[in-house]
Amino acid sequence: MEDQFLILLNGLSFAMLLFLVSVGFTLQFSVLGVLNLAHGSFYMLGVFLAITVAMFMGNYAGNFWIGLLLAPLLVAAFGAFLEWSLLRRIYIRDVLFQYLFTYTWILIIDDLVLMIWGARYSIISLPPIFSAPVNFLGVTFSSYRLFIILLGLLVAGLLWFFLQKTKAGMIVRAASVNREMVGALGVNTPLLFTAVFALGAWLAGVGGVLVAPLQTAYAGMGLDIIVDCFIVVVIGGMGSIKGAFWAALTLGMLRAFGIAYVPQVEMALSYLLMAVILIIRPRGFFGREEA
């Protein structure tokens, strides 16, 4: 029983990481109407920027926190710049061109990361405060993973509050329903789009920084996470934030229990789930009827 609880917690921490990244992806889509294929590359930028901050600060104990603060902001600024300089030129274009366009960013960002940080695999050390596991509800669990779970829940809560309870959030929700109408009502849509895109990139960056102490960074890790994001939006419903949350949770559990019980086929499980969803409920958990 304790084992299952531990697996559950592991799955939860993985789910929260996945949620942080994929919610940015789905939020960008719901407002801008563009699927950012390079979202995974923003996540990867977050990882490598966190490593750079850690290296820059040397052995200073607070470097993880500074990385967590700084790296996502840099990623968000980079995202805002890309949206402002390039992406807004192709909103009127066909969806195929939009795809091609963000696809080229993967090549450029991935290769730039390879150029700047090299092909070596790097990892940063856990902040000292998390060095010891904690006793949580009767099980001994990594305090860092617990931190990820709490942070993920916090961000989910803040996002919910922002979207449901604030005026800016209401505009974002309105824009996801009808962009033209929101513009006609006097909202500065170009600014709104840049802001939402930056927010999405920021979320990817946060996910990246959080994963940096857990896993070695490599150029190409962006593609692995973007595939997970795809699976999340297919399962949860395209453009749905609630859907992203529950889908990430489902996937996280599936992965954690998969690794524990059927490690050989664990990788295929998420695809299997996606296939089943596509057959029995093609629009996903919370997707709208029209695509």
Partner: protein
């Protein structure tokens, strides 16, 4: 109601078989004949161009003709490579390898395609990429069968030992396959695909089972993409998961964007440009992805119809100026 997508991406697809086909056929035959005096390196370059032409043309059946963008063709090319290599290792029969290396990817395309066409174009691009990543991970991890990262050494085919002979074998195979594509796009089925590209809703309204048609196109593209992979395995000699990697899915995308999707020979032109450019770029830098990424970005931004589009634009520009000049003359007279 689905949102109608009025896509400028789906204009008329041009295919002057005789003009461009003739030029390409002549140059592809002539180049290795001229270069047969030169190191076999150039003959091998020409061979890989031919294989990539088949890969690109099969991809364009989906992208240029049907308007469905696949980011995962490497799954079919790569599985063609691996099935062909494994058959060659156990039986050393090339026809069997080519057959298996194209039918297996087609079967794979049936399974994956069923899910990929289930929803909109938006889902199609995502799902093709996701499934390709699944195949890549599978081949990477299944060490006992595929050798994992180390790859497989493919046995040589005795009667195709000479690079020039091998080149002509590839040339024949590719020309026949490309001709089949030409027949397909001119058949009623091909016209149906073009109509799906131009207006999916209306095509649905006149009673065409769009999903099924796109799936058939996907299977055909998988079959010929697999065939390109199946011949690539003995050609390259040593295969690795690199051939299933997402950068391999990128190859036909680059070729079609360079050459232009709206022309039957666009991917062929693109294949030549891509292979030659890559050969030159990798002499100077390892960061060919970056270079191609920037080039793609600029092309998509400025001239989404690729080289063929630019050529056509120049053509219309010249024509316009000639008529203008004639008009001026008339006025002066």
């Amino acid at each position: 109601m689905k949102k109608a997508i009025h896509s400028p991406a789906c204009g008329e697809v041009k295919d002057s078989l005789y003009s461009w086909g003739f030029v390409i056929a002549v140059t592809t035959v002539a180049i290795p004949l001229i270069f047969s005096q030169f190191p076999p390196y150039y003959i091998k370059l020409a061979s890989s161009i031919m294989i990539m032409i088949l890969y690109g043309v099969s991809f364009n059946l989906l992208y240029g003709y049907t308007g469905y963008l696949s980011f995962g063709q490497a799954a079919y090319f790569g599985s063609g490579v691996y099935v062909s290599a494994l058959i060659l290792r156990s039986t050393s029969s090339l026809p069997l390898a080519l057959l298996g290396g194209s039918i297996a990817p087609a079967l794979l395309a049936i399974v994956f395609g069923y899910f990929c066409v289930k929803r909109s174009k938006l889902y199609f691009a995502m799902l093709t990429l996701a499934f390709a990543q699944l195949i890549y991970t599978l081949i990477f991890k299944w060490r006992s069968l595929t050798g994992g990262d180390d790859g497989i050494v493919v046995p040589r085919i005795p009667y195709l030992h000479n690079p020039l002979t091998f080149y002509f074998f590839i040339l024949a195979l590719v020309l026949v396959s490309v001709f089949i594509h030409w027949v397909i796009v001119h058949s009623p089925f091909g016209h149906m695909l073009k109509s799906i590209c131009q207006n999916q809703e209306r095509t649905e309204f006149i009673g065409v089972p769009v999903e099924k048609q796109v799936l058939v196109a996907f299977i055909i593209a998988g079959f010929f993409g697999g065939l390109a992979g199946a011949i690539y395995a003995p050609f390259i000699g040593v295969i690795s998961p690199k051939l299933v990697h997402w950068t391999m899915s990128l190859t036909p995308v680059i070729m079609v964007v360079f050459g232009g999707a709206k022309h039957f020979w666009g991917p062929a032109i693109g294949a030549i440009v891509y292979i030659v450019l890559k050969d030159i770029i990798t002499l100077y830098t390892d960061n060919w992805l970056l270079v191609f990424g920037l080039m793609l970005l600029i092309i998509v931004l400025i001239s989404p119809r690729g080289v063929m589009g630019v050529l056509e634009n120049i053509g219309t520009y010249i024509k316009k100026n000639i008529t203008k000049a004639n008009l001026m003359k008339e006025r002066i007279n």
